[in-house]
Symmetry: D2
Subunit: 397 residues, 4 copies
């Protein structure tokens, strides 16, 4: 390609240096795009939210995506923080999804509800220090342990709500990967932990006699990525939803016997193990993507959050104990997109907007995942999976 | 719990049996929710889309999530299907994201653009047949191979645009997992392949002498889940974006040298390998979630789609060859949410709405991922990662 | 370090250029080592095997390791190739191992024996071709498919017993990894497939218009390494052992109920999935290492061969169906170490020496693995795991 | 099968209740086997070791496997514990192996030797406690942390050389997997940690108010199995070998340039990542199996020990920094098979027999792995891989 392929200033998306988060700036950009592509962004340009609220959420604001919200429920939850009946907003364009979750919620509610617990809570930034050899790496690791208090103080000097809990160490050759584990209050905490860890690393670099080089991420924080380290060691919330499915109720509502479900479970476990999938349950990503979009979560975190471990037992009385553990659920009720108008309303619908609510929200997420997994697993075994999509998912023009 | 916890009919989300996809039905549900939760869904209730267009996309429609869209670009692409300069709509609530992708796009464009190629195309449904023992399983597998033509005909009788290309076989004990691989035209194809595979399985069950039992999914289709089988054998589009980063350009724009980038690359590869992460690149999920929401893709497919394999080399002249392969990109330009108003406009902005466009769209997705990976990797190494988030991501109330 | 650290010729292990595989050459080397280390290799120097038989098996032959062999059995097998009662030689230095496998064999035999089946057979060499970009890589892949017959002929021209069955293709950026799948008769086949694939690659390089560069291994053959590609796509033999454990028999012999075993199975499956282990059974490597050493297999192949997938069901009558699938069992009854004296005797003990026996041997391996998994799983649940090691494993000086 | 398939007492392998570890008992068993199979175990019956030394190492002792030992070296090591030139005994039946390692050792020695470091040391037993629900599981976990001192005391009451360092916790539903991390002196420690953990678990069960049920292994110790938890969190020794390969030396000895090696390294890293292999180096299992057999290690531990992470950089002067980290090397210089005659001699040859030697031995293992990886990687790139096997591996009768 010739050099003239470089974008000329006139081709760059225009910005208003004085007030770029405004309806006028958005309109200017839509006009710019229309001139270059011929496309009218008519619907994109219709929104009720105030662009002035968007700094910190988006650059080059041009309009909005309107994502349909369906509400499923009630889902009865007997959690530590989430207690009662919940109506759950699901933003999706996939037919059948809301109906299927609704069905699972009804089943769980008729069985007495879902028990939910946040069993761990940890957000990371994972820098790597590059030492001269493995021996210096090991000694550096000991130095880190010995100076944890100072490192913690330095990290926490940058944040009101974050707390550095521990630093995991992982040695590869001369490299020392450090995994800083924080609690982050009601925020998801990726930025907070990044800033705190940068301060900590700079302190380490200044105070360690080797003045070691570091990179702020050595990739084992696995931000926006599924990983086995997340599965084992938690990222965000590790949250469990568990329920006892009554044999008669699921037979009535779903048409499947618990013994059939458990038989099928052995088969799906073998398949998931062989495929090395991120979740040996059914389809957590469906619940999470729909809830994340509705409530202002970072939808890219579906990548981490959809990991899951199902553990179940068929009980002597024929009832079916079913649990799912989400080891890397990344959610917030404060910061990020949670304060935007429709997002905030959806969090409020769940009683989860603002400070002190994030564990409650995490519990609801897990309970909804469980509802959907039971519904889909039953549909697959009962044989109405395809027919229901045929009925509810005819979405072709 | 007592039985009275079961939801009473009056608690169920109300539906209008005559016309449930209407503004009135949505308003009725908002009213219902307000009565039970006290929450006004004011902004959720404001939308320009026509509810009558939503059957097939959502049940219990109640309103919309408004997700801000920022536009980044131009990004110059020299693909097989995507050719020219593109302005990319990104729906997100995460500050810095649009700016960072914009920066990467500028770099790539100034370096001559991104080359993109769809190297494989395959959507699956993966049933499992349960045989009496492993020997019967093996013989069943041979029978499947011998009857591929009939199975293909049966599967394809259910669809206009899907074609069954091959059936992979995976034996575990007496189980025979079959992975049906289809091309699905411009649709993502999960429902199409489910329906086609059900027909095929019923045909198999009727014609095989053992009348074997099957489950329509044995879990190795790993729908809505990352898995290693996807990484190896493709799910959806396997698409590559590659570029040669000119040493001087990245030094000018990002402030990092290509030798530093390549040095850091060795470190991040070791980290990703140790962590068993789904992607040894940086943060594909950010690009994909934002593009998926904007363009009506199924956002839950971020789970599969964010997988990636970076392969790079430092060239003799100091330029840097960088490629990313997305092995499981699941996208559509037809069906699902692609026809909804804002979503369709965003696809049109990319010249990707409708039939015959899906490979073009897949190529653009991969190119955008590459832009973001370069931008983030550079920021991490240059040290402006945290400061830029501090500047652009101050989103707390 | 100074240059004088380089080994002087007088420090190199001496060889006899005329007859290096002789007792005299071995004695010369032991003398050399004694002079440099002061260590007498008295027992190492005692062997009944003829050094003249060792070319092709070892260089710098110095003596032998004497590994104790214990025999376990009889194990009743109802396989396709292995039929009858087998006494199994296990070479190990780990107390309890033979006793534990013996116990499991007795259980299986009393339950009617083990059913075994080789369900797939495939040895690989996996070269990678480096193309100019991904598009050329895709076209190269199509060219490979179109020229499969010629490639097969070229590969097979180098071998009497190997046959090229298929070539899998895996695209990453501009790279085309090719996985050549062979059957290799009664040999394990790593060298045979290396030689055949080299010939094929040279033919490809000469005949493809781009004269593409290749590396004979792109690492996805994962030789001497566990990998998920082996788990999914087989390396060596994919072999299944399955049995129905009678409730009364295991209760009598092991003291555990099948319901307890199945309960524990749910727990170990969750653990293995979370840990991403290579085998969701118990300890296949113990059986395989002991059998491999006794019978002249390549013990390094324990790395691949120990992978496994257990699939089990509790039957209505309380009996317990248990299967294990070894997806990457690499064994031979011909070539390598199989012809050495003690090794050959141990193969003969199993009726597995020489041509036409490799599937029989693979079946026996899987059956022994199953016996050991049942014995250990029962011991763990019954609580006699530690006590039996205490009784049989007191091996401290 | 009819009941008469159960082994009759006369079919069981005979034991001598008075003195089963004797030459006479072994001869009796060989006679028994000859009667049933017609096979003479002539060579198996020839050994110099004293059967009376074998209690604790084997049951049903019948004879020995004679495994040829070749010696490679000298290998110069500049380790923390291993220092100087080493001659390494390799027990194998695979032609080319000793020659290839020998070549790599010469290269490393001429480049100044290998630096080695044990960076972590941890052996596990990982029980699981089954609580009533996830909340009780979390509280149980807090109780474990609060009672660590008592648990440690109880565990350590069973062992002289083991020390409980920490207990990792992994929650799945109501299950609490505990990973007990020990140092185990010069023993590998699997039995020691089993016994200590059993005592600890019994103490926990007695003292925790819920009297919780436990299983001594919940499978995440991944004994005799590769796993990602081992890769991340170490099992046995985590040991690093690193060296700077001089450009001129490898060019001279191997015929490859360091730039070619580094180019190939990028390709093999992508392949290993895609395949999810246990080691992104070349073939650690070859070195480890051969050393383990020679020195009385548990050869089944090749399953865990062969995992590895290569990290390398091309230096500005064209030299090549190469490191390999073995995260799960399980070795002993005391107990198990280390005291048997040939095994002890081989340990003595390395100066590694007995107490206080295990880290030295671990360092040598890693250095040998590095030597073999460099030799094989060079051979693959230089093109003499197949030809050398053809020359040294002609082992067919």
């Amino acid at each position: 390609m010739s050099d003239d392929s470089a974008p000329q200033p006139r081709d760059r998306v225009p910005r208003d240096p004085d007030d770029d988060h405004s309806a006028a700036a958005a309109a200017m950009r839509r006009q710019f795009l229309r001139e270059r592509t011929g496309v009218e962004l008519t619907h994109v340009g219709q929104f009720s939210i105030d662009p002035a609220a968007l700094p910190g959420n988006i650059e080059n604001f041009t309009g909005v995506a309107q994502i349909p919200i369906g509400v499923a429920g009630p889902l009865h939850i007997n959690g530590e923080h989430a207690r009662g009946d919940f109506y759950v907003p699901l933003a999706t364009t996939e037919g059948t999804l809301v109906a299927s979750y609704n069905r699972g919620m009804r089943l769980l509610t008729e069985c007495g509800g879902v028990r939910t617990t946040v069993v761990d809570d940890s957000m990371q930034r994972a820098p790597v220090f590059v030492m001269s050899d493995a021996l210096h790496g090991r000694e550096f690791g000991e130095w880190i342990d010995a100076h944890f208090a100072e490192i913690k103080a330095e990290a926490e000097s940058t944040t009101r709500s974050g707390a550095l809990i521990s630093i995991g160490q992982y040695a590869v050759g001369p490299l020392r990967y450090l995994r800083f584990n924080y609690t982050t209050g009601d925020a998801a905490g990726q930025n907070m932990t990044g800033k705190a860890t940068l301060a900590a690393c700079q302190w380490i670099q200044e105070h360690h006699p080797d003045r070691p080089q570091f990179i702020l991420s050595g990739s084992i924080d696995t931000d926006k990525k599924h990983s086995q380290i997340n599965m084992l060691l938690t990222r965000g919330k590790r949250v469990v939803a568990e329920a006892v499915i009554k044999r008669e109720v699921i037979k009535d509502l779903m048409g499947v016997d618990t013994t059939t479900l458990f038989w099928g479970r052995q088969i799906s476990q073998a398949g998931n193990f062989m495929a090395a999938s991120a979740n040996n349950g059914a389809h957590a990503a469906n619940a999470l993507a729909a809830m994340f979009i509705a409530t202002g979560q970072d939808a890219a975190n579906v990548a981490e959050s959809h990991a899951g471990i199902v553990y179940s037992q068929l009980l002597d009385n024929g009832d079916y104990y079913w649990s799912i553990t989400l080891p890397a659920l990344i959610v917030a009720t404060y910061g990020g997109g949670t304060g935007l108008p429709t997002q905030r309303e959806c969090l409020e619908l769940l009683g989860c907007y603002g400070a002190g609510k994030v564990r409650k929200f995490a519990e609801i997420c897990a309970a909804v995942v469980l509802a959907g997994d039971i519904s889909l697993s039953s549909a697959v075994l009962h044989g109405d999976w395809v027919t229901s999509h045929d009925r509810l998912g005819r979405n072709r023009p």
